[in-house]
C-alpha cells in the first residue's frame, strides 16, 4: 500500500471512529440525563441539587407497577399469539412455493409500513365492541409484531442447511414430530429466541397502537409513561422512564447477543 493510500485509509478510519463515538454519546446522554433527573431531589435547581435520592424511583415504581405487569402479561399474550400464527406461517412461506406466495409475503409486511396510529384507528372502527375486553389491544400488538417475528424465523427455516438436515432425518426414519424436536428446533432455536425477545421488546415498548386502543383497565407501560410526562413531576417521569428501561434494555442486549444481526437481515 502506498503512503498516500495509507494516510487516506487512516483518515477514513478516524472519521468513522469519530462518528461511531458521536452516535454512541448521543444515544447514551439521554439515559444519563434521565438517571440524573430521577435521582435528584429538585431537578429545577440542577443535577443532584439537594442530594441524591431514590424516592422518585420508589414513587415512580408505585405508579407504574400495575401497568408494568399488565404490559408484561400483554407481551406474553402477544408472544403466544405470534407462536400460534407466526410459526406455521413462517413454515409455509419458507418451505412451500405456491401461487400467491409473494402476495402473502407482502401482506404479512403491511403492518410494518402502516403507521401505528392508522392501525389503531382501523381496529377501533372495525371491532369497536372488542376494545373494552383488551383483545383489541392484543390484536394490535400482534399485528405490529407478527411481521418481525415472521421476518426473523422464515430465513432460518428456509435455509438449505436446515432443509438438508431435516431431509436426512426423514430418510433416517424420523417422522415430522421427531424432526421438529430432534433436528429443526436445535437448528433454529437461536432465531426463535431472537424472534421471541424481539416480540417481547417491541410489545413492551409499543406506544402508537396502544395509545388508541387502551382503556382505563387496559393501560400499558408506555401509555402510562406518557401520562406521567403530561401530568406529573419531571422527576417522577424520569424515574418511570428509568423503570421502563430496566424492562426493555436487558432484553434488547440479549437480542443483540443472540441474533440481532440475523433479525436485522430478515
Amino acid at each position: 500500500m502506498s503512503k498516500t493510500a495509507k494516510i487516506q485509509k487512516d483518515r477514513v478510519q478516524s472519521v468513522g471512529r469519530f462518528f461511531a463515538w458521536f452516535t454512541a454519546i448521543i444515544c447514551v446522554t439521554p439515559i444519563v440525563l434521565v438517571f440524573a433527573v430521577a435521582t435528584t431531589e429538585v431537578w429545577q435547581a440542577g443535577p443532584w441539587a439537594g442530594g441524591f435520592t431514590m424516592k422518585w424511583m420508589v414513587r415512580g415504581w408505585q405508579i407504574i407497577s400495575p401497568y408494568a405487569w399488565y404490559s408484561v402479561k400483554l407481551a406474553l399474550l402477544t408472544l403466544f399469539l405470534n407462536y400460534i400464527i407466526g410459526i406455521p406461517t413462517s413454515w409455509v412461506l419458507a418451505r412451500h412455493r405456491f401461487p400467491g406466495r409473494n402476495v402473502l409475503i407482502a401482506l404479512t409486511n403491511i403492518p410494518i409500513a402502516v403507521p401505528g396510529i392508522a392501525m389503531g384507528l382501523a381496529l377501533i372502527i372495525t371491532y369497536p365492541l372488542l376494545r373494552r375486553s383488551g383483545f383489541l389491544l392484543a390484536a394490535g400488538h400482534l399485528l405490529y409484531t407478527l411481521p418481525f417475528f415472521i421476518g426473523a424465523l422464515t430465513p432460518q427455516l428456509a435455509d438449505p442447511s436446515v432443509q438438508d438436515v431435516e431431509s436426512v432425518a426423514a430418510t433416517l426414519g424420523a417422522n415430522f414430530y421427531k424432526r421438529v424436536v430432534h433436528v429443526i428446533y436445535p437448528k433454529v432455536k437461536t432465531s426463535l429466541l431472537a424472534a421471541t425477545i424481539l416480540v417481547i421488546t417491541l410489545s413492551m415498548g409499543e406506544f402508537n397502537v396502544s395509545f388508541f386502543l387502551f382503556t382505563a383497565q387496559n393501560k400499558t407501560l408506555p401509555v402510562e409513561l406518557y401520562s406521567a410526562y403530561i401530568t406529573g413531576r419531571i422527576e417522577v417521569a424520569g424515574a418511570i422512564t428509568l423503570c421502563f428501561l430496566f424492562f426493555v434494555v436487558p432484553a434488547a442486549i440479549i437480542l443483540e447477543r443472540l441474533g440481532g444481526v440475523k433479525v436485522g437481515q430478515a
Binding site: D164, S167, V168, A170, T171, K187
Partner: protein, 349 residues
C-alpha cells in the same frame, strides 16, 4: 463384512418430474434398472437431473408420473421415513448439536432399536468407516473427510435397502478426494448395499461404478459399464462428456480402418461398412508427435505430471488431442500421428 443383507433392486419406471413454476420437466420418462448390491453412478453436467433422481428415490420429491420400484414394490406413496433409504447429501447435513456417536445412532434411535443393538451397530459402523478414534468428538470440529465418513456411517447404520450419495466427494480438496474415493469404494464393497452415486466428475464415475448412467437435460443418454461406455459411446455428448474426447467425422476405408483426414489413417475399435461416413472419438492418449505424421500447429499445451497434453490444429481446421513427453511451445508446427496399436473409438451403435 456384508452389513446390508437386504440390499434391494431399484427401478425408475418412466419417471416424469417437473419443478413447480418450471415449464420444462427436470426428468423426462427416465427408466433405469439397478440390481441388488450394484453401484450405479449418475453422471452429467449441472442441471441434468441427477440429484433430482436421488431426491425422488429418497421420497423428498414426488414425480407426476411413473413408478419407483424397490424390490418390485412401488414406493412413491411411502414418505421418506418409511422407505429405509440412506441419503448422504453434498453438504453431509450432519446434526451439529450432536457428537459423532449420536449422529451415527440417530436412525437407530428413531426406529427405537434397543440400546444393546444400537451400541453394536454403531461400533460396527464406526469401524467400517474408520472413525472409531473420533467417536466422542463434536462434528463441528471435524475435517471434510471425517465429516464425509460420519455421514456415511450414519446412513449405513440403518441397514438401508438403497444408499444415495449426492456428490459426496465434491466438498473435498482434490488430493483428499482421491484418497477418500478409494476408501469409499472399499466401504461400499464391504457394506454390499445397493448404491446410487451422483457426480459431475467423469473420472469418479469411471473409477467407482459398476454401471454408469449418463444424463443430459433430464434424459438418459446411455447406460452401461464404464468399459462399455468408454468403448461404445452412443453419441458425441457421451464421448465428449464421459471420455473427454474430441469428436470428428471420418470416412471408413474398409471394415477396420478409417481416414480422419488425408494422410491420417487409423484402426477402428469396431467393424464398419467400407465407405461409410462415421464419427470418431479422438482421445489424447491415441495420438503422438511423429516426423511421419500430418502437419498441424500446437494451439494448447499443459503439463500433466510427466506428460504434456496438447491440442493441435490441422490445415483443414480439425483439432487433434495429443499426449507426448516432449514440451512444445504454442504455435509450433508439428507432425501428428495415431500411436501404434491404438484403435480409435467409433461413436454410435
Amino acid at each position: 463384512m456384508s452389513i446390508s443383507a437386504e440390499a434391494a433392486s431399484l427401478t425408475y419406471d418412466k419417471i416424469l418430474f417437473t419443478y413447480l413454476g418450471e415449464k420444462k420437466p427436470a426428468i423426462k420418462d427416465v427408466h433405469i434398472d439397478v440390481s441388488p448390491g450394484e453401484l450405479v453412478v449418475f453422471v452429467g453436467p449441472s442441471g441434468c437431473g441427477k440429484s433430482t433422481l436421488l431426491r425422488i428415490a429418497a421420497g423428498l420429491l414426488f414425480p407426476e408420473r411413473g413408478r419407483l420400484l424397490i424390490d418390485k414394490k412401488d414406493m412413491l406413496k411411502n414418505p421418506p421415513e418409511k422407505r429405509r433409504i440412506g441419503w448422504v447429501p453434498q453438504s453431509y447435513a450432519l446434526f451439529e448439536h450432536l457428537n459423532v456417536i449420536e449422529n451415527v445412532e440417530f436412525g437407530l434411535k428413531m426406529e427405537k432399536a434397543p440400546k444393546e443393538k444400537r451400541d453394536i451397530e454403531v461400533e460396527r459402523m464406526l469401524k467400517l468407516c474408520r472413525i472409531e478414534d473420533i467417536k466422542n468428538r463434536s462434528v463441528r470440529n471435524l475435517s471434510g473427510g471425517q465429516r464425509q465418513r460420519v455421514a456415511m456411517a450414519r446412513a449405513l447404520a440403518i441397514s438401508p435397502r438403497v444408499l444415495l450419495l449426492d456428490e459426496p466427494l465434491a466438498a473435498l480438496d482434490p488430493q483428499l478426494r482421491i484418497a477418500i474415493r478409494e476408501d469409499l469404494q472399499q466401504m461400499l464393497t464391504e457394506s454390499g448395499v445397493t448404491t446410487l452415486f451422483v457426480t459431475h466428475d467423469q473420472s469418479e464415475a469411471l473409477a467407482l461404478a459398476d454401471k454408469v448412467v449418463v444424463l443430459r437435460n433430464g434424459i438418459v443418454e446411455q447406460i452401461g459399464s464404464p468399459e462399455y461406455l468408454w468403448n461404445n459411446p452412443i453419441n458425441d455428448f457421451v464421448a465428449e462428456f464421459l471420455t473427454n474426447a474430441i469428436t470428428t467425422d471420418a470416412k471408413a476405408l474398409d471394415e477396420d480402418r478409417a481416414e480422419i483426414l488425408p494422410g491420417l489413417v487409423c484402426s477402428l475399435n469396431k467393424k464398419v461398412k467400407p465407405g461409410q461416413a462415421i464419427r470418431l472419438a479422438l482421445r489424447k492418449d491415441d495420438f503422438t508427435l511423429s516426423s511421419d505424421g500430418v502437419e498441424a500447429v500446437i494451439t494448447y499445451c499443459e503439463y500433466n505430471g510427466g506428460v504434456h497434453h496438447m491440442k493441435a490444429e490441422t490445415k483443414d481446421k480439425r483439432i487433434i488431442p495429443i499426449s507426448s513427453n516432449e514440451d512444445v511451445a504454442l504455435g509450433t508446427s508439428v507432425r501428428v500421428k495415431v500411436k501404434d496399436k491404438v484403435r480409435i473409438t467409433v461413436i454410435g451403435e
